[in-house]
Amino acid sequence: MSRIACFVEKYNFSDPREEAALQNFKHAAEESGTEFSFLFREDIADIPKYNAVFIRATTDPLFTAYIVSKTAWELGLKVIDDPESIQICANKVHQYELFEKYDVPRIPTMFIDRDELHHKKNQPNLPETWQTRRH
């Protein structure tokens, strides 16, 4: 029987809707004949015991989820999100450079650093959307 680990953090269970969704995943996996276990950060050493890892915790190269994803990937397991996707999707600069490279339709975007911030605030071209570059 195949074994899927679902990597979760405690916060994944704080919202009843999220918890219900996780139980739905478990139910669907078991109905299809797959063993499904929740994997918490203290269980990372158990990754080799599984055939696949499905990540539900926040994916970011700075978070434990990346350690889980890359460990599973290095060990040859199937993993979602895979480490490359995490590297791209968690970073707006990376995404935008790829949008430009492959000519994906995109909203005009500029990236500014801390030093440029004060100057930029004085420019009268509002409204515009501001986001941090990390998420």
Partner: protein, 231 residues
């Protein structure tokens, strides 16, 4: 060959500042020489920008991320045949003691602490280490047994600043694997054998003039030999 660096190198080669390179579409083999390669730092964006332009670059953005996360660095090193020690990733003192015993070496696994490690010879010291390096248990730590003596060496293009042949060999293999031009390696010597424990950035102020000359000489050598580095 394009040398992109935030460091004042003595090389006769033209050095491009990271800010200039990030605004450019320069093509060519890029050597990214930076005092801090961590994710989201300028050193990371230089490699990322080079890759998106289609350039060969050392280090790659993937290797930058992996080498700065100790458990991934150790996993990849072990799989590449570099001697490492067993390690666990956890925020639990009990788990560290039950699986590794004491004493242990503890490294941070979070985006905010990138310098140093702690050793713990008893339970209370381990609690302190896990609490501080885990930022009040918010993040995991990476622990491994402490069986010998900890040694820290600077490594420039895989050449360790040491007379120890075994540590030199580890430094060379780590460079072959991750291609991080400037880093320090934490190595544990146990019964005459060396084991890789950690890889961290070197702050620019920790590099005196002779270090900068060594780095410059390595870059000059690479430029004379051509793009022999496999990427």
């Amino acid at each position: 060959m394009l040398v992109v660096s935030n460091i004042d190198l003595t090389s006769g080669l033209r050095i491009i500042k990271p800010s200039e390179f990030l605004d450019s579409s320069d093509k060519g083999f890029v050597i990214n020489v930076n005092s801090d390669y961590r994710y989201l730092k300028v050193g990371y964006y230089v490699s990322l920008h080079a890759e998106i332009l289609g350039n060969k670059v050392i280090p790659s953005s993937e290797d930058i991320i992996d080498s700065s996360r100790t458990p991934i660095m150790l996993l990849r090193a072990e799989r590449a045949g570099i001697a490492t020690l067993p390690f666990i990733v956890t925020d639990s003192v009990k788990k560290i003691i039950s699986e590794l015993g004491l004493p242990v070496v503890v490294f941070a696994v979070n985006p905010f602490i990138s310098d140093g490690y702690e050793t713990a010879k008893n339970k209370s010291a381990l609690y302190r280490a896990v609490k501080s390096l885990g930022m009040n248990y918010k993040f995991d730590v990476c622990a491994m047994p402490l069986k010998g003596e900890m040694v820290t060496v600077k490594s420039f293009f895989g050449k360790a600043q040491t007379e120890d042949k075994e540590i030199e060999a580890i430094s060379s293999k780590v460079f072959d694997l991750f291609k991080i031009p400037i880093c320090k390696l934490h190595i544990q010597r146990v019964d005459g054998k060396a084991y890789l424990n950690g890889l961290q950035p070197i702050k620019e102020k920790q590099m005196p003039k002779q270090d900068l000359e060594l780095i410059s000489n390595e870059i000059t050598l690479i430029s004379q030999q051509g793009e022999h580095l496999s990427v």
